[in-house]
């Protein structure tokens, strides 16, 4: 397997801070950071009413499909997408080629403002993700995984 994604306390807290700030600065309803494979990483704003797991998986599928279209058209990628709804709009962008930044917003905000704020947040996120990659590469073997025994795995499946 390649490129295992690892998240540490420090970086998650920084990513959460970026989400919170983007949520405030862009007057958004909610902000999500999702791994390209569909795992939710962080969220801010009005997320209680959202099914974050499903949203993450579908958004990642959407981004993957759009990426597939891009490569058919000999484009590297379409870095941003915008979906306009009656009540909620969705702005989707790829950050550092690795994670997906989703902003849900309504009439309290505008596409222009969201785009502007996303740009700044993306720069911040890229810095954090670079640090995360550096950190996980310098600690390749994670202690918790090495400690897992065959019995631990068997116990998980005992009915």
């Amino acid at each position: 397997m390649t490129n295992q994604l690892v998240m540490y306390e420090e970086e998650l807290s920084q990513i959460n801070d970026v989400c919170d700030q983007l949520h405030r600065d862009s007057n958004a309803k909610a902000v999500l950071v999702i791994d390209k494979n569909g795992q939710a990483i962080a969220a801010a704003g009005e997320v209680e009413s959202l099914d974050v797991t499903s949203l993450s998986s579908l958004t990642a599928g959407n981004v993957a499909a759009t990426g597939g279209i891009a490569s058919l058209l000999a484009e590297k990628e379409f870095s941003g997408q915008f979906h306009e709804g009656e009540r909620t709009n969705v702005h989707i962008s790829i950050v550092a080629g690795r994670v997906i930044l989703v902003v849900l917003f309504d009439t309290r905000s505008s596409l222009g403002l969201v785009r502007l704020r996303v740009k700044r947040a993306s720069t911040e996120l890229t810095r954090i993700l670079d640090e995360l990659v550096r950190k996980s590469q310098s600690n390749p073997s994670s202690a918790i995984l090495a400690e897992i025994t065959d019995d631990d795995i068997d116990n998980l499946f005992n009915d």
């Binding site: 397997m1 390649t2 490129n3 295992q4 994604l5 690892v6 998240m7 540490y8 306390e9 970086e11 998650l12 807290s13 791994d35 390209k36 494979n37 569909g38 795992q39 990483i41 099914d51 797991t53 499903s54 998986s57 579908l58 599928g61 993957a64 499909a65 990426g67 597939g68 390749p140 073997s141 994670s142 918790i144 995984l145 090495a146 400690e147 897992i148 065959d150 631990d152 795995i153 068997d154 998980l156 499946f157």
Partner: protein, 195 residues
């Protein structure tokens, strides 16, 4: 690609159900969804056509319990089985940690099984994976049908690497959880080995 979240103490893995059209991949997920406690599962999503053929994927998030204080969460996906959806299948295989190859036991579907197995091997290779290394198991579904081929014959064409195989009747749930447990176990064992 597994996702180890130390901050939230979670291990997240992705399992893909692969196989020819109408072999029962979606039925496997539906049975798992119906039989799992509400607190251990999320919503099942099916992106299907009007005739209920999978168009892009089915998705089911499952929580299997804790290992050493880490919650283990599995995201189960199916691919669309019909031959012309190959581009979608390739996308869904991205970041996969374990594969279940669901074969249709009906003798008439032997060709379709072979084609799908070869397609799986090729698409994995394209993503930089190999059937020699990735955790995977084979499920022979529809064992209750009168035209089901003998297992030995199916093994020859669908399981040249002789990985674990399971006989199943997914509509009734026979073999469904055995298959899931086997692949989940392989994925965790691979993770532990530092894969």
């Amino acid at each position: 690609m597994s996702f180890i979240n130390y901050a939230q103490r979670e291990i997240n893995c992705k399992i893909v159900y692969y196989g020819p059209g109408l072999c029962g991949k979606t039925t496997n997920l539906q049975y798992i969804y119906n039989k799992t406690n509400p607190e251990a599962k999320g919503k099942m999503i099916s992106l299907a056509t009007e005739t209920e053929r999978t168009l892009f994927f089915d998705f089911l998030p499952l929580s299997l319990g804790e290992i050493r204080g880490f919650r283990t969460r599995f995201h189960l996906y199916t691919v669309p089985g019909q031959v012309f959806y190959d581009a979608s299948r390739k996308l869904i295989l991205k970041g996969v940690d374990g594969v279940v190859f669901v074969a249709d036991s009906q003798i008439e579907r032997m060709e379709a099984n072979i084609e799908s197995y070869e397609n799986l091997r090729d698409n994995l290779q394209e993503q930089g994976y190999s059937l020699d290394k990735i955790p995977y198991v084979v499920q022979y579904n529809k064992r209750d049908l009168p035209n089901a081929a003998p297992i030995t014959e199916l093994e020859e064409v669908c399981n040249p690497k002789k990985v674990a195989n399971f006989e199943a009747v997914a509509t009734k749930g026979v073999g469904v959880f055995d298959t899931l447990k086997a692949v989940a176990k392989l994925v965790l064992t691979e993770l532990k080995r530092g894969g």
